[in-house]
């Protein structure tokens, strides 16, 4: 395979145009840290965004930041932190979990539509993504969206590009809305709950005006795999509150009042709270170097625990929950069991299961992304053709 690292958008466009002319496929990578997700791509050329770097516009008072796609996420986060701002959707870092190396890039964050625990209140990457520049499969340089927070001018191709895993275009520049970082945070841990009681507690917490910005449940013994093990291994149902110190304190009290009797409470202070949520977002409980298959399953929050129970009846699996229980991370101890997982998702109100970690052989054999109905598959294929008529960009990466 031919590796190229263009140093400009124009150069990248020329490479794709040439590949299109020859009808040859192109694999698009950022830092390569998530190459192990989705169907393995067989391509003649691998094109990296590593040469397209730098924050191109950032005025904190506008709450908007534009950067070239290959800019390391770490660089962006540092620039934002220097102005007490942040990306609200809490970008995860999957390197330890996926046992991958390299620098996660801002472009790949958009292309994979990633998000962390704050997803439930702040949306995913796509909700903060205001604009993109990209190169389609014909090698045309295009832009969609812009630098403004509200924009309904024409079709929203920004959303479509987000989460398209490089199958519609090579992102060259992205613009994200950013947010002031709150003064502080605390986490209320409710201890000792079984999964169904935890789901119930989390639903109650999110029905209050406490503005919970993270709701996760770690069953025994996974609770000891986050935040340096300080939680011990008893089940921990975690509710995060962010804001002014005084307000955080009052909202934690409000949660305690609402959940009185549910279980024993522990309040986790700022530093430890940050470490815990970082680990939950980064899937630290399964950063285990085992390489065992791990599924990321999104369902209605109240279905998560019932799904997990059913799964564990049919296959050996460990699970933990984010997003109020609606995001189940499941590690299968033997085979990936795609059929079981997907059947049970359908049986529990629907949603989707993505195989986030598995060997290339497994990812070639089962569809890592949730197969869709024939009507949506056909529609999506027509949309893909509209961007990439010859099907040269990351062919097959998203399945089926």
């Amino acid at each position: 395979m031919n590796h190229v690292v263009p140093s400009s958008e124009l150069e990248a466009a020329a490479i794709i145009r040439d590949a299109a002319a020859r009808g040859e496929s192109v694999e698009i990578v950022g830092g390569g840290t998530k190459r192990g997700v989705g169907r393995p791509v067989e391509a003649a050329t691998r094109i990296s965004t590593a040469g397209l770097t730098g924050v191109t516009a950032y005025n904190p008072a506008e709450m908007v930041m534009t950067a070239r796609a290959g800019t390391p996420l770490a660089e962006i986060e540092a620039a934002l932190a220097a102005n007490s701002q942040r990306l609200s959707f809490e970008p995860p870092d999957f390197r330890a979990f996926l046992a991958s190396a390299g620098e996660p890039t801002i472009g790949a964050l958009a292309a994979a539509n990633l998000s962390g625990p704050r997803r439930i209140v702040a949306g995913a990457a796509r909700d903060s993504l205001l604009g993109v520049r990209f190169i389609n499969g014909a090698g045309e340089i295009l832009s969609s969206g812009g630098r403004v927070m509200k924009n309904v001018t024409g079709l929203d191709l920004v959303k479509l590009l987000a989460g398209s895993w490089g199958t519609l275009g090579l992102l060259t520049e992205v613009t994200f809305k950013v947010q002031p970082a709150p003064e502080t945070e605390e986490t209320l841990a409710v201890r000792g709950l079984l999964d169904d009681a935890a789901a119930n507690a989390m639903a109650h917490a999110l029905a209050t005006s406490a503005e919970v910005s993270g709701a996760a449940h770690l069953p025994e013994p996974l609770s000891k795999t986050v935040g340096g093990g300080l939680l011990g291994s008893d089940p921990a149902t975690l509710l995060r509150v962010e804001g002014f110190a005084e307000s955080v304190r009052l909202r934690i009290e409000k949660l305690k009042a609402r959940l009185a009797g549910a279980g024993a409470f522990e309040t986790v202070g700022e530093a430890h709270s940050r470490a815990i949520w970082r680990d939950i977002g980064n899937v630290a409980p399964f950063a285990d170097e085992t390489g065992k298959p791990v599924w990321r399953i999104s369902l209605k929050p109240t279905e998560g625990h019932a799904f997990a129970l059913a799964l564990r009846r049919e296959a050996l699996a460990s699970v933990f929950y984010d997003w109020q229980g609606g995001l189940v991370w499941a590690r299968l101890e033997d085979a990936a069991e795609a059929d079981i997982v997907r059947r049970l998702v359908r049986a529990h109100g629907g949603g989707h299961a993505t195989l986030w970690r598995a060997s290339p052989a497994i990812r070639a054999a089962v569809s890592p992304f949730e197969p869709q109905t024939p009507a949506l598959t056909a529609l999506s294929e027509r949309v893909r053709k509209a961007f990439d008529p010859k099907g040269i960009l990351n062919p097959g990466r998203m399945g089926p």
Binding site: E62, Q85, L157, F244, G351, L379
Partner: protein, 478 residues
Amino acid sequence: MSAIAFLEPDAGVIARRGAIIAGLVECVGADGLVSEERELKPFETDGFAAYRRMPLAVVLPKTTAEVASVMRFLHAEGVKVVARGAGTSLSGGAIPEEDAVVLGLSRMSRILEIDLPNRLARVQAGVTNLAISDAVDADGFFYAPDPSSQLACTIGGNIGMNSGGAHCLKYGVTTNNLLGVTLVLADGTVTEIGGGALDGAGLDLLGLVCGSEGQLGIVTEATVRLIAKPEGQRPVLFGFPSSESASACVSDIIAAGIVPVAIEFMDRPAIAICEAFAHAGYPLDAEALLIVEVEGSTVEMDAMLRKIVDIAHRHAVMTVKESQSAYEAALIWKGRKSAFGATGRVADYICMDGTVPLSQLTRVLRQTAEIVAAYGLRVANVFHAGDGNMHPLILYNVNDPVEAEKAEAAGMDILKLCVEAGGCLTGEHGVGIEKRDLMRHQFSKAELDQQMRVRAAFDPAWRLNPSKVFPLDDRGAA
């Protein structure tokens, strides 16, 4: 300045009107069809009332299955379809065409499911925006996007336009609060996109459909996110000696790390109009007014308001009105929420909707005033300052064709200014017919062609709301 064109109606379709109506009656029954000229009249325009077209017929299905059968039939007959919610579009998005059938969702107005533990509601597309919040209010929840037209406009129309509202600074617009839709495609195929789980599988077709102005399919049902109501909400009203000082105050509030739920701006003409209508106690001596709303617990609101008032004082604020009661809060909002209606009592107006980066607000406001003055007209500005979404209301007399032309021309100049300032043509009202012919100012030919190819992936024959959004000439590449 020529009037905005529509596509040439297809005489062959119009000649078959009788047969088409008969076919539609088969799909929805006689009571689901409007075809008498007198009864069609209310459908001939929308909130962009300067333009009107009589449709071939209006069909009012009651179920997704009926919508599917109507769409199958019209697909077979090769007839155009214009989806319609409440018809409050300000960009002409719901204006019919003479050879098109209007598919109205008004009879699909049931709330199908309220699921509080999962904080979602599943509703039919014709449910009004406010009805959703009303249905869950007693349980302490609400549906966040709140267009000023929320009493009338439908969730289907909100999805069509990706509508926003005063409170979207914190909670986002329609697309950020939408979990799923049932979409009937151009050929009548019924699809489910998304649902109760976050972030659907595959390409984000949900995000694409939101804001697609009835061109990709008919939304018959939607699943939307509900949010627990804040403990309290409190607005504060400021009067400033200049637009510059008000804009600088907005920038500083944001730079200080405070994101209020809403920051609304009015200039002197808008203040006078709204005060005369609402008697809200607005300061008539101010050149600019801001309404800043915060929410949370009393402690949190107090702390944020203290910071905000301090910042305002650094910008020579003349009037500070902190609401002491729910009554006073409602009064502060009453003036703002009735701005369009109040303006309509004073003069006819067209409302622009460009969005600009926050750093450009002051300059664009000043140049907007210059542009409108050069046409010999008046302008009142009332808009969402926190997100740079401007709403200059250009006042004119609708019965004076020369003034009408000038108003339209001034509006176009303002929108070009917004694009040139790094912004966009429309922040929440949509392109419709109104801004269609300006699309080339925002997008290159290759970009428009890309969008049109995506559109064609859904509607290859260009039958869905075809006169809207994309310039009428040069659609060949798609």
